[in-house]
């Protein structure tokens, strides 16, 4: 049973928690501007290229607009979301931390300062229509920007004449924001909360419907493969500093962090496992730093490049380390992906493989609940699915792994249940 532990830690006010999170966009902004200046790059031109890109999978903003502009784009979106959290007086819980880091990460490939806005507007209109506070839906809307590429594709994909395409892009984004809340709430029952990126599953379904409709009109969404292919030591160094910072905040908040850290391993991670309320903010921030560092080392050991998609993978893991992910439930899943990678002959250093491995931790709760062997099998199944389902939604769902994770969980859970005998005790 997921009980809250007795927590003795330094009390953090809501503003302090927002400030702790704000360090990430602030550092990204400073880094982006300084990097662009040092390279003599035109930031405004880079931002314009990012905004005007169709952004379908996989469009790395480090290639489209340059490294400096990609970091500035992420920082601006980060600040915008933090402003909303403050504006609507949100409690900074584990899920909000996860949403913030997911949006921050995907702002390196897919989300830009323009294509996310119509979705927020759609969410606002939904809240007004249902006469519920905007704060009730803001969380879902933050995640649902997974479908932001469809806004860019319709606006800048050459489907309509210029001007009319802006209107169509706007309307599409608003429509997505309007329908995503009830859809996401309903879809979670398919996988019973064992897929942490539930919006990824929902967005996969929505993306499939939209892409199918477009294909009916003979509109084909061309696949894109723009990936930054060289490691930058400054980006790696920046991430190391930020993850050490998170661990430091954890230690500052809870002085017994080292002694108590193992208590986090007992949680299965199934939705809802909010570590901020179960083990406190100290252990949560420390766990975020640990998993961030582990993810970065994993990427470098495999010989991968820390580019836009990989940044998204790492930052999403960091975020969900506040909402279900911990080393014990992530490890079997990633091991399963690696084993399947060996079996099927994948190139371990390729960005496609690395992001599949990073995002596969969306189904970490399966390993947490049913043990490492089932976890390894789930990881293997995840790799086989995730490399084949992108074509269904044409790459307009950024959380492709969330879509795959939902299918894996929804497929495996009844089968696991079929092999169980008698009543199980939680």
């Amino acid at each position: 049973m997921a009980f809250a532990n007795k927590i003795e830690e330094r009390d953090l006010h809501k503003e302090q928690k927002i400030l702790i999170l704000a360090v990430f966009p602030l550092i990204f902004l400073i880094f982006g501007v300084l990097y662009a200046l040092s390279q003599g790059a035109n930031l405004a031109q880079g931002m314009t290229s990012i905004i005007k890109s169709p952004t379908t999978l996989i469009t790395d903003f480090m290639v489209v607009g340059g490294i400096g502009a990609a970091f500035v784009n992420s920082a601006l979106i980060g600040f915008f979301n933090l402003y909303l959290l403050k504006r609507y007086k949100m409690r900074i819980n584990g899920l909000l931390i996860a949403a913030f880091f997911t949006v921050l990460g995907f702002s390196f490939f897919g989300k830009n300062v323009l294509n996310i806005l119509p979705i927020y507007l759609g969410g606002y209109l939904y809240a007004r229509y249902q006469q519920i506070p905007m704060k009730n839906v803001i969380l879902v809307i933050m995640f649902s920007t997974a479908l932001a590429p469809i806004v860019s594709f319709i606006t800048f994909g050459g489907l309509f004449t210029e001007g009319f395409s802006y209107l169509m892009g706007l309307l599409t984004g608003i429509s997505i924001g309007f329908i995503i809340v009830p859809l996401s709430s309903h879809m979670i029952r398919f996988h019973d909360g064992y897929n942490l990126y539930n919006i990824g599953f929902t967005a996969g379904i929505v993306g499939t419907v939209i892409t199918s409709a477009l294909r009916s009109f003979d509109v084909e969404i061309a696949s894109v493969n723009l990936i930054h292919d060289q490691n930058n030591p400054m980006i790696i160094g920046l991430l190391v500093v930020l993850f050490v910072y998170l661990m430091g905040i954890g230690l500052y908040t809870n002085k017994d962090t080292f002694k108590l850290y193992k208590t986090i391993f007992k949680y299965r991670g199934r939705t809802i496992t909010d570590f901020t309320s179960l083990v406190g903010y100290g252990l949560t921030f420390f766990n975020m730093g640990v998993l961030g560092m582990a993810s970065l080392i994993f990427v470098l050991v495999l010989g991968g490049v820390v580019n836009g998609p990989v940044m998204a993978g790492i930052l999403t893991i960091v975020g969900f380390a506040a909402f279900g992910k911990q080393p014990k439930n992530c490890f079997p899943i990633v091991l399963g992906v690696l084993m399947a990678g060996i079996f099927f002959g994948y190139d371990f250093s390729s960005t496609t493989f690395i992001i599949s491995a990073l995002f596969s931790t969306t189904i970490a709760p399966i390993a947490g609940a049913y043990g490492p062997i089932i976890g390894v099998i789930a990881g293997m199944l995840h790799l086989t699915l995730v490399t084949n389902i992108g074509i269904i939604h044409g790459g307009i769902n950024l959380y492709n792994n969330g879509f795959s994770g939902g299918l894996v969980a929804g497929f495996m859970l009844p089968i696991i249940d079929a092999f169980k005998r008698g009543e199980s005790r939680s």
């Binding site: 997921a2 009730n136 809340v181 939705t271 809802i272 939680s426």
Partner: protein, 114 residues
Amino acid sequence: MKHEVKKICKIVDELTTLFLKEDTNEVDFKIITQPDRAIVKIVDYNTKYSEEFIAHLKKTLNNQRQSEIEEYYWQLAGETDDDDELTLISVMIDSATVEKRDGNLYIELVRINK
């Protein structure tokens, strides 16, 4: 709020599953809906839960109402008997009293209409 009655039913569903599976073979639920709130009164007869466990349960249920999580996840409540969703129940209610008397566990949950 939409689906108000269904959300109360989901809370009852989750706790029915939990108590029948974990603790007892006799449990009463009384649900009262008023214009401004819903109250769920539960009697879990002949409870085997320890005082420490009950203190944990009280703390968890009194976490804090969090409407944004409720809006997203409320349909998960009562969906599985493999795991519990006490954290979800805690974000769907405003307050909870939990006490053990005469060998029975008495719980009262209050959910304010918003």
